[in-house]
């Protein structure tokens, strides 16, 4: 799998990190990644690939959940990160439709070093932020997430399609013992082709209902 020539490690990496930082500091806030012409294999969306490029290097490990060899090779070739099993991975790439069993093995850090926990990158179908208690539902057939916690001004609502409720339940169970937990990043490409992301750090209390 070839290397992406159009990606600029210095300036694209910086812009995408700022989007990641803003989303992490404000859980549920959607951010767009500045466009870069890349062509990841079918199992990865562009937002996922760009986040991997921004954060991973030869000092980090990653695991893919139910993806083919080509997705792993693509990430390894472009970031020099090492592919490993889920229990040793700093970054875990999965689909939001995945059965939640893989979370059992993911590293939640230790009480002495909670920062060694894994970061989950979950690919979803799409997501919309609910603006100011608007009565109409921006999308149907998904989940309405209600978010509370550090970074959220009161309560925020995010409509998400392409994530399983039992995956959120398993994530909640793994985040029950703060400071241990998993930090999740949701990624998708919207209908106009923009690479988007939202984050659910371990401190965020998530509740959901079908919409």
């Amino acid at each position: 799998m070839g290397r992406e020539a159009a990606y600029d490690e210095v300036f694209d990496g910086q812009a995408h990190f700022r989007a990641l930082l803003d989303s992490t500091a404000r859980p549920g806030a959607l951010n767009f990644l500045t466009p870069v012409q890349i062509d990841p294999p079918a199992g990865l969306n562009r937002a996922t690939a760009l986040i991997a490029f921004a954060l991973m290097d030869g000092n980090s490990n990653f695991a893919t959940v139910n993806m083919t060899q080509s997705e792993g090779s693509y990430l390894a070739a472009n970031t020099r990160a090492r592919r490993t099993e889920i229990d040793g991975a700093d970054f875990i790439f999965a689909s939001g439709d995945e059965a939640p069993e893989f979370l059992e093995a993911a590293c939640c850090g230790t009480l002495l070093y909670p920062d060694t926990a894994a970061t989950l990158i979950l690919q979803i179908q799409d997501a919309v932020v609910q603006i100011q208690d608007a009565p109409e539902r921006p999308l149907t057939g998904g989940l309405r997430l209600t978010l509370k916690g550090p970074g959220v001004d009161g309560i925020s609502a995010l409509f998400v399609r392409g994530i399983r409720a039992d995956l959120l339940l398993a994530l909640q169970a793994r985040n029950a013992e703060f400071p241990l937990g998993l930090d999740a990043i949701l990624t998708f490409v919207d209908e106009s082709g923009r690479a988007c992301l939202a984050a659910l750090p371990r401190t965020t209390h998530v509740s959901w209902e079908k919409c």
Binding site: V10, Q14, L55, D90, P179
Partner: protein
């Protein structure tokens, strides 16, 4: 000959190499995910000594892009020697805009002060931290303090506050007053005056703390509860400047510097230089002022 203009500078963009930047960025994200926890990081060499603002520089240089507007203050002033040199260095390395205006800046690096003006959700405040370990005064070994943080065993810091109170009648912390972040980690907000400490709580902006010599990054995300440690009957109090007015602007309700002239006379001046400039030009920028109970 290939004209590779991108590589014509003899320094890397942002001074730090990309692999180290990525490492600091990963640690910064984890710091934001665990509010108040000190994340160990690499703390690479800088052209200034460790402990002279390198932690702040590491954060600023990994955050900054060409479209950012940078403000650097030292003890509230844009004009002090440290602030001027750090500002010029970052501007040379990152090719960004710089400003004195608190409202214009997207990244503000600071030492010992949080600006008086309310910061917005577009802004990031980077604080330089000399000693990130709030428990160091009561426990000398890193392995022990780390375990105390892991188990939320904070009895020693409470006892030290109590002892200071019974001996001196006050908790005796002029700056760097211990705070509890998101009801879990007790940490120090760096040596900012008590006056600024309440402004860390439920703010709109992101606070990042870099301790270069001690190699630690910590963060307080926006809208996060931050409580200064206090007892039921002995409450946290900010500095009072009762009856004192700024000798330049005539205003009150801001953190004041006390200036002695050597002949037994003294006067007070508002410490935040940009805030003072705005006051003297007739503006009154929005402020959050804590009132002692």
């Amino acid at each position: 000959m290939v004209a590779a203009t991108k590589f014509q500078s003899s320094y890397h963009y942002g001074f730090i190499d990309e692999a180290t930047k990525k490492e600091i960025r990963r640690k910064t994200l984890k710091a934001v995910c665990i509010p108040g926890y000190q994340v160990p990081y690499s703390s690479p060499e800088m052209p200034i000594s460790r402990g002279w603002g390198t932690g702040g520089l590491h954060l600023t240089l990994t955050l900054i892009g060409k479209s950012d507007v940078l403000k650097i203050i030292d003890q509230g002033s844009d004009a002090s020697v440290n602030a001027c040199h750090l500002r010029r260095f970052v501007q040379m390395m990152a090719d960004c805009a710089v400003t004195f205006d608190t409202a214009q800046a997207t990244i503000i690096q600071s030492r010992h002060r949080v600006p008086e003006e309310i910061l917005t959700n577009r802004q990031i405040l980077v604080l330089q931290v000399p000693q990130p370990e709030v428990l160091r005064g009561v426990e000398r070994f890193e392995a022990r303090t780390r375990q105390m943080h892991g188990e939320a065993d904070y009895s020693k810091i409470w006892v030290s506050l109590y002892e200071a109170y019974v001996r001196f009648g006050a908790t005796m912390r002029g700056s760097g007053y211990p705070i509890k972040v998101n009801r879990r980690y007790i940490t120090t907000p760096s040596p900012i005056p008590r006056w600024d400490t309440p402004n860390l709580s439920m703010a709109h902006c992101l606070y990042l703390f870099g301790a270069g010599r001690e190699k630690r990054i910590q963060a307080i995300p926006p809208h996060t509860p931050v409580e200064p440690l206090e007892f039921e009957d002995v409450k946290f109090r900010v500095e009072e400047f009762a009856g004192i007015r700024c000798s330049v602007s005539g205003e009150s309700r801001a953190f004041m510097d006390e200036i002695f002239n050597g002949e037994g006379h003294r006067r007070h001046v508002i410490n935040d230089s940009n805030f003072l400039d705005k006051l003297t030009s007739g503006e009154r920028p929005p402020q959050r002022v804590f009132v002692n109970s």
